[in-house]
């Protein structure tokens, strides 16, 4: 350590960095103390809110499916399934009706639809009469 350094050190030691404001300690520990107490009501409120919203959703928003509705849904599913089958049969019958030698088979399919798929009876009858005028029969 030379003389110059000692002189500078001497100047510096006439001062020192300022200390903290008086309220800093209180600020640190008061803030920290309050935090956990604020957390629990917030968590409890959040849980209640979620539970309440869930219940509300069940009661209001979500469709209320009863036993009757389930039966109706099953019926609808059956009808859709039958409609699909009837459409397929009619399509096959239409193709076969145009093929020489397959007319009888086509007629059999039309009659199958007429007899077993009441919702497609008139459609099948119409196509049968159109394809085979000789088979024309009243609805």
């Amino acid at each position: 350590m030379n003389h110059d350094d000692q002189a500078i050190e001497s100047v510096l030691t006439r001062y020192r960095p300022s200390g903290p404001p008086a309220q800093l300690g209180e600020q640190i520990f008061r803030l920290r103390e309050k935090k956990p107490h604020r957390m629990w009501p917030a968590i409890a409120a959040a849980i209640l809110l979620v539970a309440g919203a869930g219940l509300l959703w069940r009661q209001v928003v979500r469709p209320n499916v009863s036993v009757n509705d389930q039966e109706k849904l099953a019926q609808i599913e059956i009808s859709v399934s039958q409609a699909g089958k009837a459409e397929q049969l009619l399509a096959v019958a239409n193709i076969l009706a145009g093929q020489p030698g397959a007319e009888d088979h086509a007629k059999g399919i039309y009659y199958e639809v007429i007899n077993h798929y009441p919702n497609f009876k008139s459609q099948a009858l119409g196509q049968l009469n159109h394809k085979f005028p000789s088979e024309r029969r009243a609805e």
Binding site: D4, D5, A7, V11, T13, R14, S18, L24, G25
Partner: protein, 182 residues
Amino acid sequence: MRAKTETDSDDPRVVLETAYGKYGDDLYRYALMILTDHSAAEDAVQTAFMKTLKLGKRMLQIASLSDYLRIAVRNTCYAMIKKQRRLDNELKTKRVRPILEKLDEGSNEDERASIEQALCTLPVEQREVLHMKIYEGKTFEEIARMVGIPADTAASRYRYALGKLRQILGSEYQREDNRHES
């Protein structure tokens, strides 16, 4: 091993409050010298203590709470500087509250202001070592251990800092020099 505290309490909050009473002032001065701004120093000390408090009971296992807090404050200060690289320069011009206080009657306001300004021109690493050496009376070995650098590096940082201050405070230094000679 239990934290070296002056209380037998097992409550981490009480332990830390006691530690604040004992080391808070020094840690604040240390942060102030690194950041050269009171608000930033308050934030750094507050953040470091809050993080330490979050350790809960684990805090009681810390071997030296004073060293731990010192490192926590230091890390927070350097993180703040890294986050806002311009902090040092901006604060030099915006400083309202002085960072130094007079210890004797022989000093004057102009001198204080020029020393303060000169300190702020030092690189933060040099200012930190200077603070620990001059204002905390630590040896280079102690500084080296706390800062995580070789003792030779700590010593050279200190010498560089003094050299730069000597350049800037030419007139102050000569005045002091004359006083010594007379």
